[in-house]
């Protein structure tokens, strides 16, 4: 029965037919509505994803460039101890801050009042003296001359140049005074203000000053943490999967183990943090805030994921492989180690990377074991205090300074890019290893 069958009927409609026809129309309408509802909820998901990624990318865009100001700095030889060639210590100990301030005063000779001078100094980032020191250390020839050097501007100046500060607001409502804005405008008119690629963001550790803060410390922390996680979780996960899939007898105890694994996969991640805090840090006396402990906690957390996907990889190897090996006289262990395992290994690897992706984005357990400290130094070992990339996002998102918003978004972009790379790897591996038996 369909519409055409009714339409072909020319005879005057009886009320019954009309009712039937209306009923069918109503049912088809409901059908279409239901179908559209389903499509709409998919569209809602897609739009939300676009919204989220779009906002993050839009907010992050500013963080990849940074305002620099060109200042003529006189590196007076008298400021350096000794004579040329200068000792490294002499170069390192020179009063760069004084030279920078003198250069700023020289650029704006009319500034004399103490308060104004202090404001003038604030145009430049606090960290510039160290950058200048490193520059001179790298090239001692600079000493004795006057050079136009590009120096990192303060984060408020940066926001002004990027158009994030409304100049029309009353002076009391913004952190830059009219006077400072005036100075910046003059510098800009001279062509001495420029937005350059934000190298610091990728090469520095965390900092209280937004313009100097970078993600390298957090990235290294993540690398160390995930390194520990993978070293522990992958072998244990594969071993457990091999036992459960290939050797385990069917009994109550094994059932218990399996229920346990499935349950652990669904336990809130913060609980693993509590375990790490109480057992590893408090009971075994391991240090707080280090990637070693973080990695161990994440290893326990990712273990169920790795076991479950490794078992799927083992189950995909057809039984005839095992039977053939056993028929030729191999023991069960030999059949598994020599034949099943090599065939299942690529699939297991995919499972391991899925676990890696999960651990890469995890934050909550790391908060519980103290990997949220403010750490400037880039960690160099698994026992150095560190944060991880998602934790850094959390810390920066909490920060009241506006300049950190774009850095938070930029860190998110980096994290998502890393996750995309990992997932791309998974897709490639899957296509490569997917074998039809």
């Amino acid at each position: 029965m369909n519409k055409a069958a009714f339409a072909g009927n020319d005879s005057p409609e009886s009320p019954v037919v009309r009712r039937l026809r209306a009923g069918i129309r109503a049912r088809y309408r409901r059908e279409r509505r239901f179908r559209r509802l389903g499509a709409a909820s998919l569209v809602v998901g897609a739009l939300f994803l676009l919204w989220l990624l779009g906002t993050s990318a839009f907010k992050a865009a500013g963080a990849f460039s940074q305002t620099c100001i060109a200042i003529d700095i006189a590196l007076d030889a008298a400021e350096f101890d000794g004579d040329a060639p200068y000792q490294r210590e002499a170069i390192a100990a020179a009063p760069y801050n004084r030279m920078i301030r003198a250069a700023l005063r020289a650029a704006f000779p009319e500034v004399t009042a103490r308060r104004d001078k202090r404001r003038l100094y604030q145009l430049i980032s606090d960290g510039v003296q160290y950058h200048l020191r490193d520059r001179v250390l790298a090239d001692p020839q600079l000493i004795g001359g006057t050079h136009r050097l590009w120096l990192l501007a303060d984060d408020e100046v940066d926001l002004l140049i990027k158009g994030r500060i409304d100049r029309n607001l009353p002076q009391a409502n913004r952190r830059l005074s009219d006077q400072s804005i005036n100075w910046i405008d003059r510098l800009q008119a001279d062509g001495r203000v420029e937005r350059r690629f934000n190298r610091h963001f990728f090469t520095a550790g965390d900092s209280r000053d937004a313009e100097q803060a970078g993600i390298l410390g957090a990235v290294m922390g993540s690398v160390f943490t995930l390194g520990v996680t993978m070293l522990l979780a992958v072998p244990v996960g594969i071993a457990a999967a091999v036992y459960l899939q290939e050797f385990a007898p069917r009994n109550r105890f094994i059932d218990l183990v399996e229920v346990n694994i499935n349950n652990l996969a669904a336990v809130p991640s913060i609980t693993f943090g509590l375990l790490g805090l109480a057992l590893l840090i408090n009971f075994f006396g391991m240090p707080r805030s280090v990637p070693l402990v973080g990695g161990m906690v994440l290893a326990l957390m990712t273990l169920p994921t790795i076991i479950i996907s490794s078992r799927a990889a083992l189950a995909a190897v057809p039984p005839r492989i095992r039977q053939a090996a056993l028929a030729l006289g191999a023991s069960r262990v030999q059949a598994v180690v020599h034949h099943v395992l090599p065939l299942a290994l690529p699939g297991m690897l995919t499972g391991a990377i899925i676990g890696l992706a999960q651990a890469l984005g995890e934050t909550a357990p790391l908060l519980a074991i103290g990997m949220v400290a403010f750490i400037v130094d880039v960690p160099g070992a698994v026992t150095d205090p560190a944060t991880a990339l998602p934790v850094q996002i959390y810390l920066w998102a909490d920060s009241p300074e506006r300049a950190f918003v774009e850095r938070t978004a930029a860190a998110i972009v980096v994290l998502l890019a890393a996750l995309a790379a990992v997932n791309g790897l998974i897709a490639v591996l899957r296509n490569k290893v997917e074998k039809r038996w």
Binding site: M1, R30, E31, F34, R35, L37, G38, A39, A40, S41, L42, V44, G45, F48, L49, L52, T55, V228, L231, P235, A239, Y243, L244, V257, V259, N260, N263, L264, A266, V267, P268, S269, I270, T271, G273, L274, L275, L277, A278, L292, P304, S331, V333, Q334, L360, G361, T363, A364, L367, G370, V382, P390, Y394, A397, T408, A409, L415, L416, L419, N423
Partner: protein
């Protein structure tokens, strides 16, 4: 460092050494059999690590919680209406002794979970139905990875989005309706959490709906029902136990979700059912109590473990019921 080396030697070195020994001594069958037994023992040990982990979680949380309950009576903790865990950090400091009534936290967790499920269940279920019953190959090929991306985004990113974009939006929207909303509203956190859980619900339900035998659909369609009637009257009732299981798992996730609420839901322990107000949850308080300088023996720190115990117990029950229901359901159609 020494710990890591030792663990690596145990978990990587030992099996490699055993396999190598087996290879070298392959002609001596008796020795080989011994080594094989050893290797199996090692594998069993690894499989049992899951049990050790659960036992470890239970004991570490339980012991600290018991210490907490020696300081604060269980009754006050479970049924007290006032939560203000700020206690004096040093002995000589003047400060309140703190109040540890967790009801506002349970209520806040409940409120946010309800909002999240109100988003995730209808949208997730409809998406799953569309994908498994209507969508063609092409739509599936684009929509499934899309949902996987949504599922793969770290929760801290959702948290940032909830705090900086959705929160202010909710506040402004409420203000334009003449309502006053806090920037850290339960609604913002719940909405974003709902979207986070949506792919979880949809992929689990998708599996469940696909497991319903085709013969049931064919029977219904053969009797003249439309597809939506078939879905509503035949497929969904048949799939209900499985769907209930996946919803329970989703609830367990919503309760245990930490970063979104830490960043977007706020710290104030308000006992309210108003989704526009700021509420706090169990996980938020666990994080707040543990972050920062602390003495390990203070009731403040121990309270985090008591909350952890409640969280673990509730999610454990939910997971167990969900897994049991799912297993029963699978057996039904196998």
């Amino acid at each position: 460092m020494a710990t890591l080396t030792a663990l690596c030697l145990l978990f990587i070195g030992l099996p490699v050494a055993l396999i190598a020994a087996m290879h070298i001594l392959r002609r001596r069958r008796a020795v080989c059999r011994r080594i094989e037994a050893g290797l199996r023992g090692f594998l069993l040990l690894c499989a049992c690590l899951a049990i050790f982990t659960t036992v470890g979680i239970v004991f570490s949380v339980l012991f600290e919680a018991i210490r907490f309950f020696q300081l604060v009576p269980v009754w006050d903790f479970l049924f007290g209406l006032d939560w203000s865990p700020q206690t004096a950090i040093r002995d000589d400091q003047v400060g309140s002794s703190g109040a540890f009534g967790a009801v506002p936290l349970f209520a806040g967790t409940f409120l946010i979970t309800v909002i999240a499920m109100a988003v995730a269940v209808p949208f997730g279920l409809l998406a799953a139905i569309y994908l498994s019953e209507y969508a063609g190959r092409r739509v599936r090929a684009t929509a499934k990875p899309l949902l996987e991306i949504l599922a793969g985004i770290p929760t801290v990113v959702y948290g940032f989005f909830a705090a900086l974009t959705v929160g202010p939006l909710v506040r402004d929207a409420a203000a334009s309706l003449g309502l006053s909303a806090s920037a850290e509203s339960a609604l913002a956190a719940g909405l974003v959490m709902g979207v986070m859980i949506l792919p979880f619900v949809s992929s689990l339900s998708d599996d469940v709906i696909n497991a319903v035998p085709q013969s049931l659909r064919d029977g219904s369609l053969g009797l003249g029902a439309t597809r939506s009637e078939t879905i509503r009257r035949v497929v969904l009732p048949a799939a209900t136990p499985g769907i209930v299981g996946s919803v329970l798992l989703a609830v367990s996730r919503a309760i245990g979700e930490t970063m979104i609420v830490v960043m977007a839901a706020g710290l104030a322990a308000n006992l309210t059912a108003n989704p526009l107000q700021s509420v706090t949850t169990v996980t938020v308080q666990i994080v707040t109590l543990l972050v920062g300088d602390q003495v390990f023996d203070s009731p403040k720190t121990l309270a985090a473990f008591a909350l952890g115990l409640v969280l673990f117990a509730v999610t454990l029950v939910l997971n167990m019921v969900a897994l049991y229901v799912a297993r029963k359901y699978r057996e039904q159609y196998e």
